[in-house]
């Protein structure tokens, strides 16, 4: 298995140790996997440690899904993971990014009823 594929799978499964190891071994943090997505796009959104690791290794925060234009901030906001939302914003994720339906991350948080995320994003 390629180091980059391992990194993407570890990020998707939320395995912090696996993510850390492959990054230390030099995996390209912005390399796309066989489905054309970077580790930050597929990571388990609830694992803020993994998000911070990827971003601190230079993961591009505003990479958008090739089909839906969804950014990681959209996904984290829709799923309601406030800590991950905060880390993404700290690393310059754009809260005004629009997906295919012209929705911002805050719109998705609203739709899903995540008041804490809505409050945070609206205060930016």
């Amino acid at each position: 298995m390629k180091l980059e594929d391992f990194l993407a799978s570890a990020a998707a499964a939320g395995r912090t140790a696996g993510v850390e190891r492959s990054l230390r071994e030099g995996a390209d943090v912005n390399c796309v996997n066989e489905f054309g997505r970077t580790p930050l796009q597929v990571m388990m959104m609830g694992n803020t440690t993994v998000a911070r690791l990827l971003l601190s290794y230079g993961a591009r925060p505003n990479v958008a899904d090739q089909s839906t234009r969804t950014t990681p901030l959209h996904d984290a906001a829709r799923e309601g993971f406030l800590d991950t939302v905060k880390v993404l914003v700290e690393f310059s994720a754009d809260p005004r990014a629009l997906d295919f339906h012209n929705r911002r991350p805050v719109d998705l948080a609203k739709e899903s009823g995540h008041c804490d995320v809505v409050a945070f994003l609206e205060a930016l």
């Binding site: 066989e34 388990m44 440690t49 899904d65 089909s67 996904d75």
Partner: protein, 319 residues
Amino acid sequence: MAQGASYPYEHVAEIGGGAYGTVYKARDMESGKFVALKSVRVQTDQDGLPISTVREVALLKRLEQFDHPNVVRLMDVCATQRTDQETKVTLVFEHVDQDLKIYLERAPAPGLSPDRIKDLMQQLLCGLAFLHSNRVMHRDLKPENILVTSQGQVKLADFGLARIYSCHMALTPVVVTLWYRPPEVLLQSSYATPVDIWSTGCIFAEMFRRKPLFCGESEVNQLGKIFEVIGLPSEEDWPNDVTISRKNFPSLFPRPITDFVPEINEQGAELMLEMLTFDPFRRISALNALEHEYFKEEETQIPTGNDIERNDSQTPSVT
């Protein structure tokens, strides 16, 4: 949008692989949400899918009609014929972007509050009682497949798959991750719903400890670690017809569970021991566990704030 895409899910990453098939994280193009795709390759003949597979999938779909809050939604089942002899069956499940392992890792020191643990346990047991009352056993319960939403809702995943997978694998003892395996599985004597209760007991302890209770490296080693806590079972309790002899283990007495889980209260410790009972027939059931005193004392604890001192002496004895 996404016109022309007859298959409404777009793969984004491989999450895990196994002998039976691969698990993918994918996006549901209609809702924009993530789903988990779990595929299994099934041998087919002129009659189509084997009846056992059809039956298991039908059972999972029937469960879905109850819309239980503590199990993941099964959103779709797709069958694609690969060759004359092989069909790929894909189960599409709701995907939750956090599991209990991560949830425990991210809890700031000193860990989860007793109330939070009680709530998680109650939800976990509710999901389990639901599955068990529908004759579904999980067989591989572990923190990685207990999902926790951002709102703290517990959802069990990967239940009922073991039997679908095992249709095509000889019944190997590799059904439960070693650390959460009960003695009867380690000894290869029986497999029934109490298996899941043992795993739940281990997970209950882990919620307090934030590290696993029994980390064995082999079946015998795992049993040894278990007996260091619960003591060596009596000769009469040891199952017949098992290859591992009781004589392999030193004679040990049970140790207080609070030596290993010091933060737990009295009723919690009692419940934990009823879950970590060697004999599967005497182990508490999910339904009875939900009726346990541990879940009833809630209200008396709330006003005491975060540094709860044990107020055993002043607890009113409710009759």
